[in-house]
Assembly symmetry: C2
């Protein structure tokens, strides 16, 4: 469950540790139960700021190597101050990053060396939904997301396509978006 | 469709422009058709980097005031280098930021001055799914998200709770997570 820098790795993935981690989880499923967390504070208008630091996993409380602070806002055309990307744009980052991490891991596990992975994500959204101007037929969220991968590596086309497909099948963010994820909202009035 | 700094605002929301924008969209629905975009590049292992800059909306190609670069990685316990939060943690940021932006806008539209909005988000995920160690009964994504808002403002408890509830009803990210969002993945082998 640790990484070292002096072991053989492929695609920057320490495959020995990856397989050891899989074996450890096979032996004790509780290791795989994680809880991720974020704290958000409103700044002004549509601008807010999130801090990501602690999480639970591998049967312990853990902290990232450094806390990350990330903002969100609406652009001027949506009456914001454009201090940061919109919340929905972070969904595009999340799906691309999740699929890409999976591609690197799966390629390493299959002994395939990658040279390049890039992706473009587009999300179509009709704001009649969130603006309350639809008769109910327009959803609030994205109508469609498209991810286009450009991948190069030391394997034939079929092998590389198979790695992307396996990453899709194992992706946490792909599942969270394409299938319903329960979201409970509690309110404490102070 | 522009913001100015010398107009009356509430909660940092330029309500006159907000209402004018709603009127403009009512008059021409095409204004509400947006496309958001992100470009991701693999760095190494589970580490990748996304740039968010251009988008389409209000019948024109637009750019954010500045491009945003945001990374993702896996923590050491998940065989990453912990250079940044995980992709799934950005989903927590997205839901908190989306609901909070809605709360500020809706409160302003209803003439309610807010003094503080904070939220904590927790997401439970069993990694047996993404590790391929489940018999299929464990999903890849979050099993449950919980958002807890702490809100204070110049209104009674029922009014403040009503603002949070209306934000939930109009939230793009809440919809994207709680309902299925189609995701198409194309692969170009280079």
């Amino acid at each position: 469950m640790t990484t070292t820098t002096d072991r053989p790795s492929r695609n920057g993935v320490d495959t020995a540790t990856l397989f050891a981690t899989l074996d450890a989880v096979r032996g004790q499923n509780e290791i795989a139960k994680f809880q991720f967390r974020a704290s958000n504070s409103w700044v002004s208008g549509t601008h807010s700021r999130t801090t990501i630091s602690g999480f639970h996993g591998a049967m312990q409380e853990l902290e990232h190597a450094q806390p990350t602070v990330v903002d969100a806002d609406h652009p001027a055309v949506l009456v914001g101050t454009d201090a940061a990307p919109t919340p929905v744009e972070y969904l595009l980052h999340a799906i691309a990053a999740c699929l890409t991490a999976g591609i690197a891991n799966i390629a390493a596990a299959r002994g395939v060396t990658l040279t390049s992975v890039r992706s473009e994500v587009e999300g179509d959204i009709d704001l009649l939904g969130i603006l309350g101007l639809s008769d109910g037929s327009v959803r609030n969220g994205y109508q469609q997301l498209r991810v286009t991968f450009h991948i190069a590596g030391e394997a034939d086309e079929e092998t590389l396509r198979g790695i992307v497909e396996q990453s899709r099948r194992r992706s946490a963010v792909y599942d969270a978006l394409t299938n319903p994820t329960p979201v409970a909202i509690d309110v404490v009035v102070e």
